[in-house]
Amino acid sequence: MNASSPLQVAPAAGTTEGYNFGYLDEQTKRMIRRALLKAVAIPGYQVPFGSREMPLPYGWGTGGIQVTASVIGPADVLKVIDQGADDTTNAVSIRKFFNRVAGVRTTEKTSAATIIQTRHRVPETPLAENQILVYQVPIPEPLRWLEAREAETRRMHALAEYGAMRVNLYEEVARYGRIAKGYDYPVEVNGRYIMSPSPIPKFDNPKLDNNPALQLFGAGRERRIYAIPPYTKVKSLDFEDYPFTVERWAQACALCGATDSFLDEVIVDDQGARVFVCSDTDYCEDRRKQGFRGAAPDALAATASGAS
């Protein structure tokens, strides 16, 4: 797709007539920008904002889109991923949206992007200081599963009254011998607020800690924006005797042989045979370009050609 360009960046298109740069009107952008500045000043705190109705459905990333639209400028290069992949349908759709309404350049290359909008993953390639990671968030409130009421969870955050969360986690340890959360694993930001990292696998949680990039979170339907400034301490909740751990696989990526990346399990035939491949498509491709090979580099070729 974009691989032909030496920088692997697709050129900008003209913006769509009749709409403002970035789709949102200026007043809306200002409102979101003010919320973003406060979010950065109060790491992990969920700032309420007047989320607008977007031309994409709630649940499809309206919060992330509004944040990106308020931040993005003509100098930016945008990457959009869903489940770690640039070519998932929703990622393609959102990238196309910004190409249309902001005319910005897009890329699939993590290192070439200045803004990366993501759903459910943090890229494997370490981020840099000049980058902003925008997360799409479905349920921003980490305490929601314990307490459905907004009035009550707001009070709990205000008083840093997080005992109920600790008890809940400990109940899981008692019942399952571990904290039974695979994704959306709660974190504590800068020693104060408990925060939902969005439904990323807990594998990605350590990447939030002391990241050189700015991390912004947008929840459109729930009307909340929050942030983690660069180089900020982010700790996954755990207990001394039950320390936080991440997912591990016995397998390496079948395509590139990586043993340090989050692997997707792909069922390849009717008998349920499966291969494991990197969820981060750019990372995997990059490794293959460097000459790394997994046990079955063509494992997906047959399935891929038969699809779409």
């Binding site: 797709m1 789709y23 309420p48 904002f49 007047g50 989320s51 607008r52 109705e53 977007m54 031309p55 459905p57 709630y58 649940g59 499809w60 869903d82 489940q83 992949a85 070519d87 998932t88 349908t89 929703n90 990622a91 393609v92 759709s93 196309k96 459910h120 993953r121 459905a148 009421r149 907004e150 009035a151 399952y176 011998g177 571990r178 039974a180 959360k181 695979g182 994704y183 959306d184 439904p199 990323i200 696998p201 807990k202 594998f203 339907r221 009307r223 909340r224 591990r248 989050f262 692997l263 997707d264 399990e265 792909v266 491949v277 969820s279 997906l300 399935t303 891929a304 699809a307 779409s308």
Partner: protein, 363 residues
């Protein structure tokens, strides 16, 4: 596999073309004109205007056509368009006393000043399929009344108010700003202006079920339909530079005033209370359900214990919106395979441990 393949963009493009073709149906059948929808599917158009929160019959009809008759999708199309429109300001409050009614009934009195006006209603039709409608060319006509309706019809509530039997309607002092949940997030407890706005935009089915639940005892408040009126009112606006009101046009509205029981307290003599519903177009079911839920949501203000879903502000206001609800329910169609993979790893790990424990126990 719909992921690892390139060409997602082409697949999406093709899906859109297939959607367009399916929408049109058999080209041998004449294409629907949006004017036909405006004229003949008026209640669908009204519902889309209400939940789409935009009063424009032509756009609502277009949205219905574009959405293949999926009214929630149509409301979503209108909402997404509405959000890009510039705002000039807020209209003056509409005077529904001056409504030119096509229908006005009260169930609390046999007759009321101005009379019971049945208008176009399904209420007393026998629900028998009218096979003559299957053939084109019908031109039904209604007889024209010889006695004109009164210009201003007093509301039933006002008649009770004179006796002090019902809580008075007290307008806000001065020009208190009206909340707008499309511009800011809701704080709880939410004021009644924001609650009513939320309900007016809310999903008809959701409000219907909640209103019904109050009748069955989940937050019972003994409702009577004090009045239901449907008709046309003038919309006025005061431009900053003029300083006086000018008429922008007319809108069709349905208004429902429920009269509900209230026992009173040591400080307050017994008085009826009110629930209020106001919706775009002709939408009786929605206006009535809204009035029931509005009354239920006043529980706290009226010193009632909040025990039922319809009385719970957060529950009602956070779940009433059809566009939000459909988005979040339907987003489960998006790929979640990364989250699912972490769950797989977790469950497999736990099963292995569990097996070890059982094996040890067996030894």
């Amino acid at each position: 596999m719909y992921v690892a393949v390139k060409g997602g963009e082409r697949a999406i493009e093709n899906a859109h073309r297939m959607l367009a073709e399916t929408r049109r149906g058999d080209p041998a059948t004449p294409e629907l004109a949006t004017t036909q929808l405006v004229e003949q599917l008026t209640l669908a158009v009204d519902r889309v205007m209400g939940e789409g929160s935009l009063y424009d019959r032509d756009l609502a009809a277009l949205a219905i056509k574009q959405s293949r008759g999926d009214l929630i999708e149509a409301a979503f199309l209108l909402r997404a368009y509405r959000t890009t429109l510039a705002r000039f300001g807020a209209a003056e409050p509409v005077d529904t006393n001056a409504m030119r009614v096509v229908r006005r009934i009260s169930s609390t009195f046999k007759d009321v000043p101005g009379g019971q006006v049945l208008g176009p209603t399904f209420d007393y039709t026998h629900r028998l399929l009218d096979f003559s409608l299957a053939a084109a060319g019908t031109r039904p006509e209604a007889p024209v009344s010889t006695t004109p309706l009164a210009g201003k019809l007093p509301r039933i509530g006002e008649l009770l108010e004179r006796e002090g039997l019902i809580e008075p309607v007290v307008p806000d002092a001065g020009d208190a700003p009206v909340g707008d949940l499309t511009r800011e997030s809701i704080d709880f407890p939410a004021d009644r202006d924001v609650r009513l706005q939320n309900l007016a935009r809310g999903d008809e089915g959701f409000l219907l079920a909640l209103g019904y639940s109050t009748q069955r005892g989940y937050g019972r408040n003994h409702p009577f339909c004090g009045e239901l009126r449907v008709g046309r009112v003038a919309l006025e606006y005061v431009p900053e530079e003029l300083g006086f009101a000018i008429e922008l046009g007319d809108v069709d509205l349905t208004e429902c005033q429920m009269i509900n029981q209230f026992k009173g307290s040591a400080e307050q003599p017994p008085q009826f209370t009110r629930g209020y519903g106001l919706v775009f177009g002709h939408a009786e079911r929605k206006a009535m359900a809204m009035a029931l839920v509005d009354r239920a949501l006043r529980a706290q203000e009226l010193g009632e214990t909040v025990v039922a879903p319809a009385q719970d502000q957060e529950f009602v206001l956070y779940h009433s919106d059809s566009v939000q609800a459909t988005g979040f329910v339907e987003h489960l169609k998006l790929p979640h395979y990364v989250d699912f993979q972490s769950e797989l790893v977790l469950v497999r790990g736990m099963r292995v441990e569990c097996g070890q424990v059982q094996a040890e126990a067996a030894e």
